[in-house]
């Protein structure tokens, strides 16, 4: 029986964690971390779950402790946001390269400066090449569902990689919305128990984790890690199919909304996609053939599949809630443009930066994106340009 509830994105994640009951959660207990460790530690104090909570003195330490716990053989989780994730940088790579399938809840917020606490993807996008799987959500429902699916993906023997479950800071993390929860038992059955193949506390198998690798072996280790990320594609789809059986909600690498016959497409990640859907409904009623491709899985990057879904579009707006500071746009723009080139797409593309530091996006802003696509399809050359949506002019 599905349970109708209302809760914030942070509460939804905490509820999923309660249902999963992981073994260990090391976390930095104050800002810049999220409400998630606070909610989970309350559940532990109330005796609702028996997770071992380790309050640590920094985010570098929370990730280091998570690595230790996961290597020991415990199902481990942490949560962070913004500059907290940035402080973990060095150890993110250690988690991935040691093939430790721990989960991290990331509430996406801006990195400094100017100092700002609001929604932006620069924190997790900065970590996009650290070897972690990354799955993004449009709303509280999706971040709940993604959390339940996470360990099934990360702990799969063909994958064995850490996983980030991302949601937009404040816009979904602090907004109370309707949600449909799954009962405890089906969740527990779906997630299953963690039975690591190799782990430090196994007295029968002596091993070390994280030793030096000389150059004649190190590259092979990295290739094996890359294979794990490639294998994750199939696992993500298989897990989604099983999840649909218990929830009735279907997931893939991305969601296509009014895309089938669309001449113009908008590609975006996260909470803005709900606003884009409302704008598309309005534009469709005016006869405009526009659709949305909402990216759910960014790592591994489903470039081939995205290019296939976009193959009949004349012009594509690729939206980044993150500056790349590379003089041509943001990370989704760079990677999807490359994928389209390899797929021999002839569509015009423009990479649009939006929503930095929590700048609000209205449905009328999405209509401006459509207008931009029209001028692009009409032959305007935007090579090397990347517009900012809703930027205030200088006067």
């Amino acid at each position: 029986m599905a349970i109708k509830e209302r809760m914030s994105g942070n509460e939804a994640v905490a509820h999923a964690i309660k249902q999963i009951n992981p073994d260990v959660m090391p976390a930095f207990p104050i800002t810049p971390s999220t409400e998630i460790p606070q909610f989970v530690s309350t559940m532990i104090a109330n005796g609702e779950i028996d997770t071992e909570f380790i309050p640590v003195e920094s985010e570098h330490s929370s990730m280091s402790a998570a690595i230790g716990a996961e290597a020991a053989g415990a199902r481990t989780l942490t949560a962070t946001s913004s500059c907290g994730l940035a402080l973990m940088w060095e150890v993110l790579y250690v988690a991935a390269s040691n093939r430790l399938p721990l989960m991290m809840e990331v509430v996406n917020r801006a990195l400094s400066g100017p100092i700002n606490i609001n929604a932006e993807h620069s924190d997790s996008m900065g970590a996009r090449d650290s070897g972690w799987i990354q799955i993004y959500a449009e709303n509280n429902q999706e971040v709940y569902d993604n959390t339940i699916q996470a360990y099934r993906i990360s702990e799969h023997k063909d994958v064995m990689l850490p996983i980030m479950i991302c949601q937009d800071g404040f816009i979904t993390s602090h907004a109370v919305e309707n949600i449909t929860l799954i009962e405890d038992e089906p969740v527990k059955k779906f997630v299953g128990t963690y039975e690591p193949e190799h782990y430090l506390l196994n007295a029968q198998e002596k091993m070390s984790v994280g030793p030096y690798a000389i150059s004649s072996y190190c590259m092979e280790a990295k290739r094996a890690q890359a294979e794990g990320m490639r294998n994750a594609k199939k696992v993500i789809l298989d897990v989604a199919k099983e999840f649909e059986a218990i929830s009735g909600r279907s997931y893939g690498f991305f969601e296509e909304y009014q895309l089938e016959d669309a001449e113009y497409a908008i590609v975006a990640i996260g909470s803005v996609c709900g606003t884009i859907k409302d704008a598309i409904d309005k534009m469709r009623s005016e006869g405009k053939k526009v659709g949305l491709l909402k990216v759910r899985v960014f790592r591994p990057f489903p470039g081939e599949e995205m290019a296939e879904a976009l193959k009949s579009c004349k012009a594509i707006a690729i939206m980044d809630r993150c500056e790349g500071y590379n003089s041509v746009g943001g990370p989704l723009g760079a990677e999807l443009t490359a994928a389209l080139y390899r797929a021999k797409s002839t569509a015009e593309t423009v990479n649009i930066i939006y929503g930095l530091s929590g700048r609000d996006v209205k449905t009328s802003d999405v209509e401006d994106v459509y207008d931009k696509l029209q001028t692009l399809a009409a032959g305007e050359d935007l090579f090397g340009e990347y517009p900012y949506l809703g930027l205030r002019s200088a006067e």
Partner: protein
């Protein structure tokens, strides 16, 4: 009845405008509505102007932007009338509700020529007589329910009693004061 009601709250940090917005979303959810209740965060400090929002709808809500053309505006602190354009975008067939010690005649000139309905309530009086301390969010919540006609008074009070009973299970005296404040606010708003 509207199929979608959008409400914008203006308050100062520490007065509970965000809590009131989330409570309203709670009550509407219990009535079977689709809801969205969310704050807009600036620099977080006591006394700074803050905004919070409610969307209450018969249909699922997808949009994730702020509310620019609200049906109703709630002003929890009247000193904001001098610094924040509280009627900006407010629909003329909607209404504004202001917590104030003043008369309506004194308040209307401060509303930038807003032509819709204006309601006022002395939430301080309600609080002092029922709670013995100034927590304006409780009376403002009841007042906006009356002004917006989102639900029947009896239904609202029953819902609030249920949720406050749960919230203050160990402090029954708090429940009584809050219920009195809600009932009195229904009478006082005009």
């Amino acid at each position: 009845m509207r199929t979608l009601t959008e409400i914008r709250w203006h308050g100062r940090g520490g007065q509970g405008a965000k809590t009131a917005a989330l409570l309203l979303a709670d009550v509407a959810f219990n009535m079977g509505k689709h809801v969205q209740g969310f704050p807009e965060y600036g620099p977080e400090r006591m006394g700074a102007p803050i905004t919070a929002y409610d969307r209450i709808s018969d249909n699922p809500i997808r949009v994730h932007s702020n509310i620019y053309e609200p049906d109703f505006v709630v002003v929890v602190d009247e000193t904001l009338l001098h610094t924040v354009d509280v009627t900006n975008g407010l629909k003329e067939d909607g209404a504004i509700l202001i917590n104030t010690l003043k008369d309506k005649e004194e308040i209307i000139p401060l509303l930038n020529g807003y032509k819709g309905k204006v309601f006022i309530i002395n939430a301080r009086k309600v609080c002092m007589e029922t709670l013995g301390a100034y927590f304006p969010n409780t009376p403002m919540l009841a007042a906006i329910v009356k002004v917006s006609d989102l639900m029947e008074e009896e239904v609202f009070l029953q819902e609030m009693e249920n949720s406050l009973k749960h919230k203050f299970a160990k402090k029954p005296e708090v429940l009584e004061g809050n219920m009195k404040a809600l009932k009195m606010a229904f009478q006082e708003v005009h």
